[in-house]
């Protein structure tokens, strides 16, 4: 079998030029004009070993890939030699054919790369305008806004404004001067003689603040009445109780 294979001469391979086992195999097949189905395993292995010797010094992972390829080729070759008793998908003829096709495709793609390299290339053989001008002019006068957006905006603004209304405590009802005056006028005639001013103020006032306010209003009301001469006021001591009574002789 190996006798029919073309004699493989000394291997001269640019190691750095190879990217993988297929690459190498393609180059072998090309330069040696071999048919992988006719290849001498011994000589193939010799060649691989020679390449590996050199490759080991360069890139370990490449050497490993080539080793896998060599092993695979050897396996394939042995299958081709053995009688057919294999699963259909392991059909060595098919596998060999597939490898051949893969090599052919790689060959085509390498030629395509070569063809591309030979094309007139932009930036090498011809040059384009280095400083293109801006031909785009933006018109920003338009507006993206539709009715649903407008309505949503209104509803959102209103809802937020309503929700954000600050908390207002119940307004404190303070005893006004007008109320004090009214009360004073209504009650004063019923009690003869001097009476403490406080007794004319409402008794329902709960907080000290409300009581103080009521007292102040009451005092102003009393002073107002005194000015009109309808009542008399007196205070016997500093900070002492304010006494009030109807005037003896109406003015």
């Amino acid at each position: 079998m190996s006798d029919s294979a073309p004699a493989i001469t000394a291997l001269t391979i640019r190691l750095d030029g190879f990217e993988g086992p297929l690459d190498l195999l393609l180059d072998l097949a090309r330069s040696q004009k071999v048919d992988i189905r006719q290849i001498s395993i011994i000589k193939l292995v010799d060649q691989y070993v020679a390449v590996l010797e050199g490759a080991r010094k360069i890139r370990l992972e490449l050497a490993a890939e080539w080793l896998v390829m060599a092993a695979w080729l050897t396996w394939l070759k042995s299958r081709l030699l053995l009688p057919e008793e294999l699963e259909p998908e392991e059909d060595p003829e098919l596998l060999a054919e597939r490898l051949t096709e893969r090599l052919a495709e790689l060959d085509r793609m390498r030629n395509a790369a070569f063809w591309l390299s030979g094309q007139l290339q932009l930036g090498r053989d011809t040059f384009a305008r280095g400083e293109p001008e801006n031909l785009r002019q933006e018109d920003r006068s338009g507006l993206v806004a539709d009715l649903p957006a407008l309505l949503r905006a209104y509803a959102a603004a209103r809802r937020r404004a309503i929700a954000a209304k600050p908390y207002r405590p119940k307004t404190r009802r303070l005893f006004s001067v007008a109320e004090a005056l009214e009360r004073l006028r209504a009650l004063l005639g019923a009690t003869p003689g001097w009476t403490v001013l406080q007794s004319y103020l409402p008794e329902s006032l709960a907080t000290p603040l409300e009581r103080k306010a009521a007292l102040a209003s009451g005092l102003i009301a009393a002073l107002e009445e005194a000015k009109g001469g309808r009542v008399e006021l007196r205070q016997d001591a500093l900070f002492g109780p304010l006494m009030i009574r109807l005037a003896e002789t109406p003015a």
């Binding site: 040059f127 384009a128 305008r129 280095g130 400083e131 001008e133 031909l135 785009r136 002019q137 933006e138 018109d139 920003r140 338009g142 507006l143 993206v144 806004a145 539709d146 009715l147 649903p148 957006a149 407008l150 309505l151 949503r152 905006a153 209104y154 509803a155 959102a156 603004a157 209103r158 809802r159 937020r160 404004a161 309503i162 929700a163 954000a164 209304k165």
Partner: protein
């Protein structure tokens, strides 16, 4: 053509191609490196400039160098106007909506309704876009301007008249006013649009 003429013609060719291909204006000394030795780059540039006068692409001196520029009169023809519509900012949209619903309305009233202050720039933007306009003064102290929407507003929102706007009550439920917070705020786009 004499040798000198041929050399100058070649220099002219090179200058045109070089200035075309360069990504920045070509200075005379840079040109000198590309054209045959002995040819005056400035003479070449002057000749090229004369050659291009009146052509659709002219040679202009910019930033200490020379560059090709398309003739100004052709700009309208070759420029493509791309519409980049603006989106109204949220504040502007809300202000516009409030003016639409409450017009004529003063700025303090808008602020009261929105529950937030209104910047002059927002109002200016709406004015500039022709969506709102002034509608006289309100006869109260300070005489604040009253604002209302324009016909352009109706056009923008596809309305025949302001009557086509849904009623306020349909947008914000009446009892929302009583509630401190909307119990279930309607998801966007699910507002009742009648």
């Amino acid at each position: 053509m004499s040798d000198t003429d041929a050399t100058f013609a070649l220099a002219l060719r090179i200058a045109e191609a070089l200035i075309f291909a360069s990504d920045r204006p070509v200075k005379p000394d840079r040109l000198a490196a590309a054209i045959p030795a002995g040819v005056d780059p400035l003479a070449v540039l002057t000749a090229l400039q004369a050659q291009c006068t009146g052509r659709p692409v002219e040679l202009v001196e910019v930033g200490g160098g020379f560059a090709f520029r398309t003739a100004l009169d052709l700009a309208p023809a070759i420029t493509r106007v791309v519409e980049v519509p603006r989106r109204l900012p949220r504040v502007a949209m809300e202000t516009l909506a409030i003016i639409a619903y409450h017009q004529p309305v003063t700025r303090p009233e808008i602020e009261e309704i929105r529950g937030a202050t209104l910047s002059q720039s927002t109002l200016d933007a709406l004015l500039e876009m022709g969506l709102v306009t002034s509608r006289g003064k309100k006869e109260v102290p300070g005489r604040p301007t009253l604002w209302g929407t324009t016909p352009r507003f109706l056009e923008q929102f596809g309305l025949k008249s302001l009557n086509e706007l849904p009623r306020r009550e349909e947008l914000v439920s009446a009892d929302a006013a009583a509630l401190p917070l909307e119990q279930k705020p309607a998801p966007e786009g699910e507002l009742p649009l009648h």
